[in-house]
Symmetry: C2
């Protein structure tokens, strides 16, 4: 990774780590012993439209093998292309703006809620750090729901195998169905023994829902922001585009292991001068061919934001001496440390009160 | 409805209502001005197993119409049949046991999180009343995820139309695609203008996943309980069966508009003597043929629990003078009032500290 490295105010690497540790230590303070002071918990769907199916034949359904079949008419009106958002707000947030957490491909907002080893997720970590948190499920995934195909969603979904996740998420180089025979990267921060538990979070995905997904995210920004967006992996293009369209509403983008970017030779990104970006990278990017293709596109985008006079900082964890992190930084053993570093960056950008 | 009516301690109907109002009023107290004192927020998946697909042909995928196709191999290992659970716990709960909220068919845990008119959901209402709350998405729905069919899930899913929801959930007698032409029941408590927003919560369902769904619920009870289960509609059979299997762990079942029950002529329900049941019913059951078939099965089940010497109370809202409620009691305009009545019943059963 050749990104310009994020410069912490104290400039020395060990100082950065010390700061991070201090930040992590401080996270626990406000949740104990009196707990988080939570103002509201709730959720909503946003985006989408009514669609009508007609002319489809009735289907026979059996609820048990021995039950008589029931005729079901699949025709009628449905909602489609909406997304789901859940929020937890606090009585006295320390952050100036709510934090929106947008997940990656083949995953849902659960990404941020839990660690597969049972540890505390980033939703709670950032709540403790004083943020109001909005965790969403993009169109087609999780609680956003999905639609009949090919009549409404125009193509078939596809399902990520455990092997693909193991390799693409850089847990390790060698997959095996038998957990005892899987090979992880040396010093892996991912809780390798909990990998199967993690894969219970996988959700199917479609290749053809980008436009409604962007529309729903844009609508979310209009409803909830000004805000900060923390986005993971495949969500990154949606976040960059949402910020490009509404730079006055998106006060920063934290791109955690982003996997896509705007083409700065085609998109007008002049407004992004006003939107500080942070790019956070784990380890072993050089050991996976896909990431070697992806990383340069992010570098070009970051350079493009900087060419506008904007802020595009990079937090390359291995370069900070933090080794072994996977693509799933929020589930790695040192997730609190990484959250602390991100929170420190947000403070450095004037995003905390 | 001919159920024996739930008897509030003060016995007079107006006293019951006054108590309910008082209970509702008290709900707001602990969330303001210092907020709910929240100890932890997180989620987990439970249940399920690894399955392997093999011998399926590669598929070509295009992420945009002009992009070159990508070959995807659908074979490999996947997790299947898990369920999703999200929890919010408090530093000083007033309830003796956590409250598990189990949704109905074609829906997910969102049922309890929000009202389609933007009002406060039962998740927050019961948090305010002092319960630790676990909201789940059953196998196949929402964040639980779903599996390729017919290879893993053996049948096709089906999708509820808006018309079916309008009628079956007793919003009104007459559906129309045009909101202005829909007819609601007189004095409907459901926020009729927000019905389309509600239908964004609908998720596909399968007819053939009852066994893994029960298994996942049973595993949840083993993990989280002792507890109280508040269950809606199609979830009721799972809750009754979970209580039958673990009557020492399930301290009560609140069945809100239940749509299925155990057959007490076949199942050994002797253990349910120790599990108090409350059945909560809205209005207009007599105006829908499906509910006229369902209601007697619940009556038989309630009688069966009582025949064991157990508690099986019924809270028939119209008989209490509370008219116009739909099947979606937790989304109706008077949802706080109904929550207050349920909370009062839980207190009467010794479930609060």
């Amino acid at each position: 990774m050749k990104f310009s490295q994020y410069r912490l105010p104290a400039s020395a690497r060990m100082a950065a780590l010390a700061t991070a540790v201090a930040a992590v230590a401080s996270l626990g303070g406000c949740a104990s012993p009196s707990g988080l002071a939570v103002k509201d918990v709730g959720s909503f769907h946003i985006g989408g439209k009514q669609v009508t199916l007609s002319g489809l034949p009735e289907k026979e359904l059996r609820f048990t093998p021995t039950a008589p079949p029931i005729k079901v008419n699949p025709n009628g009106e449905f909602e489609a292309e909406q997304m789901y958002v859940q929020y937890i707000t606090q009585t006295a947030p320390k952050a100036k703006y709510p934090l929106l957490m947008w997940h990656g491909g083949g995953l849902a907002g659960v990404t941020f809620e839990t660690k597969p080893d049972g540890g505390e997720g980033w939703q709670m970590a950032f709540l403790k750090a004083g943020h109001d948190v909005y965790v969403s499920d993009a169109v087609e995934r999780g609680r956003a729901s999905w639609s009949r195909y090919p009549e409404i969603f125009t193509t078939e979904p596809f399902f990520r195998t455990k092997k693909e996740g193991w390799e693409l998420f850089r847990i390790g180089p060698t997959w095996d169905a038998d957990p005892a025979r899987r090979v992880a990267h040396p010093g892996a921060q991912f809780p390798v023994g909990a990998y199967d538990q993690f894969t219970k979070q996988f959700v199917p995905r479609w290749a053809t829902n980008n436009a409604p997904t962007q529309a729903a995210y844009d609508a979310l920004v209009q409803k909830v922001c000004p805000c900060v967006i923390l986005v993971h992996s495949q969500g990154s293009t949606f976040a960059f585009e949402a910020a490009r369209k509404a730079p006055q509403l998106v006060k920063a983008v934290v791109a955690v292991e982003p996997s896509g970017a705007l083409d700065v030779t085609k998109a007008d990104i002049s407004g992004l001068k006003a939107v500080p970006h942070l790019f956070v990278w784990g380890d072993n990017l050089d050991k996976n061919a896909t990431w070697q293709v992806i990383a340069p596109t992010l570098r070009k985008y970051a350079d493009g934001v900087k060419a506008q006079g904007g802020v595009a900082d990079t937090m390359d964890l291995p370069a900070l001496g933090i080794k072994g992190n996977s693509h799933m930084l929020m589930m790695d053993k040192n997730s609190d440390q990484t959250a602390g570093l991100i929170n420190h960056w947000m403070a450095s950008q004037g995003l905390m009160k």
